[in-house]
């Protein structure tokens, strides 16, 4: 199924939740409103023509100029063989979005990683802890304005 057909299927369900859509280019996607992401995810997973059963990755991108953090959900349908992406733009000061771990279980660890390194809070996530860094780490290192730390527990970073 082509990207434009996927967008046409989404529109009757979530038309007012779609901010913009890109059917052409190397990365076809829709940009949706943050509060509608879970509903769009449910449609993508369950609609018999879409059947996106595999969440390939969640990318978090920091845009200081636009004052936003962007999340990109890359999806694949293993049964129908097509791919698509959903993007959502969040407020940089307090990025919050509904978790999709209930739709795709793979999202659980991806969302923990986005929380750990980018500081995105996923609402109703089953276990939102840091996944890579120590529990007591301060800050979210992949933010563009992350201050490079001097030391951690007495271990110097630039000896």
């Amino acid at each position: 199924m082509t990207p434009s057909e996927i967008i046409e299927i989404l529109k009757p369900h979530e038309g007012d939740g779609i901010v913009s859509a890109a059917a052409d280019g190397t990365h076809p996607h829709v940009v949706v409103k943050a509060q509608r992401l879970a509903a769009v995810a449910a449609v993508l997973k369950t609609d018999w023509r879409l059947r996106f059963d595999l969440l390939r990755c969640i990318s978090a991108i920091d845009w200081p100029a636009q004052n936003g953090v962007e999340l990109s959900y890359d999806l694949i349908s293993t049964s129908l063989g097509h791919a698509f992406a959903v993007k959502v733009m969040l407020d940089r000061a307090d990025p919050q979005v509904e978790s999709v771990a209930g739709v795709w279980p793979a999202a659980e660890w991806h969302e923990r990683e986005a929380f750990d390194l980018m500081g995105v809070t996923f609402l109703r996530h089953p276990d939102l802890r840091r996944i890579l860094l120590p529990e007591d780490w301060v800050g979210h290192p992949l933010r563009k304005d992350y201050p490079y730390p001097v030391a951690y527990k007495g271990l110097k970073l630039n000896p």
Partner: protein
């Protein structure tokens, strides 16, 4: 005629306690099964048939720090790992030795300048006896490091507390 000649049975060997202890210690260094990153692949190759660390008595990789004499830090040590690494080292029985294998364990290596999460040298966490440079070091290099560690063990004495 020497002092004790003819007093004991033939086959008597005279030596020092230091020599016997060091001789046995340096020929039975049990490393810990502990690989953190890609250097561990070279460490496994060193232990396997082609390079055969068992020729030096160091091929018995122990699955518990309680039975291990040597910790080969084979890979990148992150801050999260540093606490666990220190705890494993503390669980090892003395005398215990540490080989820092590869650029990451020595200085942070490729992560030295810009990584916020990597310990810049495992000697900040545990005392290191031998540094084996390389990225990763070849098995020959690790064997060389082990032989230098054997030399170091050979200089120990029970007469005073040893820093080695």
């Amino acid at each position: 005629m020497a002092l004790i000649e003819g007093i004991f049975e033939p086959g008597l060997v005279v030596t020092t306690v230091d020599w016997v202890l060091n001789w046995s210690r340096k020929r039975s260094i049990f490393p810990m099964t502990f690989g953190i990153a890609c250097c561990a692949i070279e460490m496994m190759a060193t232990g396997a048939a082609r390079f055969d660390l068992d020729r030096f008595g160091a091929g018995a990789f122990r699955a518990t720090p309680r039975q291990a004499d040597l910790m080969i830090v084979a890979g990148t040590v992150t801050f999260k790992m540093a606490e666990r690494l220190r705890r494993l080292w503390e669980q090892m029985a003395e005398p215990r030795f540490v080989i820092a294998m590869g650029a990451c364990a020595i200085s942070g290596g490729p992560y030295h300048l810009h990584a916020y999460h990597v310990v810049k040298g495992v000697d900040q966490v545990v005392p290191v006896d031998v540094y084996v440079p390389g990225c990763p070091p070849r098995p020959e290099a690790l064997i060389e490091g082990l032989m230098r560690l054997q030399d170091k063990i050979g200089t120990r004495t029970i007469a005073k507390k040893c820093e080695v």
